[in-house]
Amino acid sequence: MYQWDFDVIYTYREVLAVGLLNTLYYTVACIVGGLLVGLVEAFARLSPLRIVRLPTHFLVEIFRCTPLLVILIWFYYALPVLLGIQISALTAGMLALSLYGGAFYCEIIRAGIISIESGQREAAQALGMRRADTMRRIILPQALRRMVPPLMNQSILQLKNTSLVSVLALPDLIYQGQLVTHETYRPLEVYTTVAVIYFAILFPATLLVQQLERRLDVKG
């Protein structure tokens, strides 16, 4: 019978805490980066110009249709060779996560914008509103309400996705867990603890999204 011993976790709590902080830091970075990428890609995909629209679509599909693990490794090992420059693991990791997440954010933002009935645009145009004002004052405020829940869900996925950066030896929660495992030979306790930490962050976050969804729904 296996003897669980969580004392080792307490002993190495600071190592894991560093991992948790780094995971949160990577999450914020790749959510912000991903949203920026997604926003630019969404408007590029809505552009009337084919030369803007088509390459962006292609780029988005590349990231949507490739496993994140492959993208991470490719950005760290292949991209530097291709460009002839040095890329740190952190840069490669954040770039990969932002572009990967951005592809999904892009589709959420684009779907939100095109889901607004054409009558809204027409009513704004009929008042004499310019294209940018129509987007800013009429389309986006309505689209944003529809986008917020899926954007938050995607951001939750972004947090989970950061767990893969450990393959680039970035010191996130998983990587720090591996260190503790190597020191203590207690993988069951370590990974149980790591799982509980992820859950403790993400479960309240999903509840928050559900609540927000309901609130936005009520207001119409």
């Binding site: 009935e117 009558g119 809204q120 027409e122 009513a123 704004a124 145009q125 009929a126 008042l127 004499g128 509103m129 310019r130 294209r131 004002d133 004052r137 009429i138 405020p141 309505q142 309400r145 119409g220």
Partner: protein, 256 residues
Amino acid sequence: MRESSQNAIIEIRNLSKSFGALTVLRDINLTVPKGGVVALIGPSGSGKSTLLRCLNLLVVPDGGSVSVNGSSFAFGPGKRLPGDRALSAFRARTGMVFQHFNLFPHMTAAQNVMEGPLTVLKQPRAQARAEALTLLEKVGLAEKADVYPAFLSGGQKQRIAIARALAMKPDVMLFDEVTSALDPELVGEVLAVMRGLADEGMTMIIVTHEIAFARDVGDRVVFMRDGLIVEEGPPEQVIANPVHAATRSFLSHFNR
């Protein structure tokens, strides 16, 4: 040829429009004098709504020209399409009311009415608000100023949509089947507002299936079918004694 257009506020010349292989408007000519009220009637798919939408260029015609109160645009091969700025400036001079209201759901009634003056005319907020309240008063909805559209009836929504269009102080008002989506008991309140506007001398083009209203308020009735103007004239002629068989056949579906 144009002597009749001395006091014309709307002039449509040789207007044509196709959607792909489907021709919706063929060589339409129409002149509306200032203060004129034109009722556009005809079966579904006759091109009435498209014609109306060509007047504020929500639909860009393929050929011909459109002129509203001195600003005119010509369309056809070799003619450049107007840009965003020119289009917006042109549209700001025409008010349009839609079948499905198209109120902005994230804004209150007053904010809906203020949106054009604030964003397009750059009016100060206080002035826009004051004028919006006056207009809401005019359409009988002053007490709904701070209510969101979701909490209003169809008739109330449509009257707010009219106030929103009027807030831009347009030269002409275009009405696109504005009572077609309303419950029958709500039609009257919207028509009453439109009648009031006509009495004040507003130039109006009204696409409608309300034949009785067209007869009472219109000083000219235009009957369209298959993208053509079949017959036009004063209501007592077009509605009471139509010349063309097509007009008679269409009107036979209504109690006149």
